[in-house]
């Protein structure tokens, strides 16, 4: 049985005086794909940001392979092998495509090389000198994923990677994530696209107003799709 790689206990987070997370409990096993499902504003993005340490204030416990992350600065969490892809993709306008790709430093061995990434994403090679934000939405999403694959980080936090993208690109991303799981990556995914999540992930947590209210494994979600969809308001 796989051991828990990420253990989150009683995680609370605040934006100024407003509390966004109220005691989150969840865990992610090594090599799993786990999705966070929920309506807009439920706190899914905040949860990912809290793991990365980029919310103004948080409390509780976040352990990565037993190591406590709650007191660490964001750059130390990045160095610990956790990589984050925000929901706006986070592509820098003041950097070229190639500079965007090479910006995140290598934090562990085993990441993909620049050549391998150009092979996986040929568009990035042809547009290497363009400003990052001159790429299309789908290309920017590919760039955002490519650059964190170079770092060697084995834990990926992806915030709505398929949002606003054409079905063809969504399929490509799904294939890519499935391949990464084969290679042993651990992935936490925030997804509004229920079918995408259901097809890809091992387990799902349902988040409502800053709390984990339910948990489904693959089979359970498959047999409860309509109820879950209703709770998500889709």
């Amino acid at each position: 049985m796989a051991e828990a790689l990420i253990e989150i206990d009683d995680l609370c987070a605040w934006y100024g005086p407003s509390q966004a997370l109220h005691g989150i409990h969840l865990e992610v096993l090594r090599g799993e794909i786990v999705t966070l499902l929920g309506r807009n504003g439920a706190g899914k993005s905040t949860l990912l940001k809290s793991v990365m340490g980029i919310v103004p204030r948080r409390s509780g416990s976040i352990r990565l392979a037993g190591r406590e992350l709650i007191d660490l600065a964001p750059h130390q969490i990045g160095r610990a092998g956790v990589a984050y892809c925000p929901d706006d993709r986070g592509i820098y306008a003041t950097l070229t495509v190639r500079e965007n790709l090479l910006l995140p430093p290598v934090v562990a061995a085993g990441g993909l090389s620049e050549a391998e990434l150009m092979g996986l994403f040929p568009n990035l090679a042809t547009r290497a000198r363009s400003a990052g934000t001159q790429l299309s939405g789908g290309e920017q999403q590919m760039l955002a994923i490519a650059r964190i694959l170079r770092t060697g980080a084995r834990v990926l936090l992806l915030d709505e990677p398929t949002e606003g993208l054409a079905p063809v690109i969504v399929d490509r991303i799904g294939e890519l994530l499935a391949q990464l799981k084969q290679r042993g990556y651990t992935i936490v995914l925030v997804e509004q696209n229920l079918h995408f999540a259901a097809e890809l992930a091992d387990r799902h947590y349902l988040v409502e107003t800053g709390r984990v209210v339910d948990e489904y494994d693959r089979a359970a979600l498959a047999s409860n799709m309509e109820q879950v969809a209703a709770r998500l308001g889709v």
Partner: protein
Amino acid sequence: MIEIFGMPLSVIAGQTMLGLVNGCFYAVLSLGLALIFGLLRIVNFAHGAFFMAGAFGAWMLLRFVGIGYWWSLLLVPLLVGLVGALFERTLLSRLRGLDPIYGLLLTFGLVLVLEGGFRLLFGSSGQPYPVPNALKGTLQLGFMVLPVYRAWVIAAALAACALSWWLIERTPLGAQLRAATEKDALTQSFGINVPRLLTLTYGAGIALAAFTGVLAAPILHVNPSMGSDLVIVVFAIVVIGGMGSMFGSIVTALAIGVIEGWTKVFYSEASSTIIFVLMALVLLLRPRGLFGREGTA
């Protein structure tokens, strides 16, 4: 004799040259200021004081240690830059995320400490600093006479700007700087130590100010208030050029220097106010500055 608007060409050329030299001082100073504001979002009131510290550093090295101009050009920016980095690391960094007024107050307080300290040690009257032997003399250009030292200042200042541009636009470190300026939190999440980058950048901006001070020492009297005379103009230049744009600051600085020079020739009463008139115009018509990007106004 050729005349333009009633002024001899040699006079105009001479004043243009002097204006260009001033513009070069402004350019390197505003480059440092824009660099610091762009990344740290700090309005560095202490910039002029560090310029003054650079000039005094060169003077003190010569007077007390016997170290001359050329070594000072290298050592003084390094030493003063280190002091700046220490100041950022120990004091300024604590103000991150607070109201900008605190940064203003702290750097303004530092000005009082630095200027007061130097005034206490060396008095208010200017100390002379000799032009190095290799740069003495003048060049005959036909239509005007150009002092060698001033030609050197122009060359050195432009070289400093070019080096800074190259570091920021063409190196991985510069990419990290641009990334941290655009998106602080995300850049940190990649494992980049942004707080250390901020310290480094502040130190670099201060080093640029001190470098300008060494360049200025043989031309201006080395005195405790030489920085505050210049810094107001430099602030106006950064506002006109655009707070986030280093290129804009350099171009504006050179232009302002020349415009100031011409104003001295044709209407000297306005020469100290012309820049503020220009600043007011820019703020009215294009508040983000001539080269500024959106969101930096």
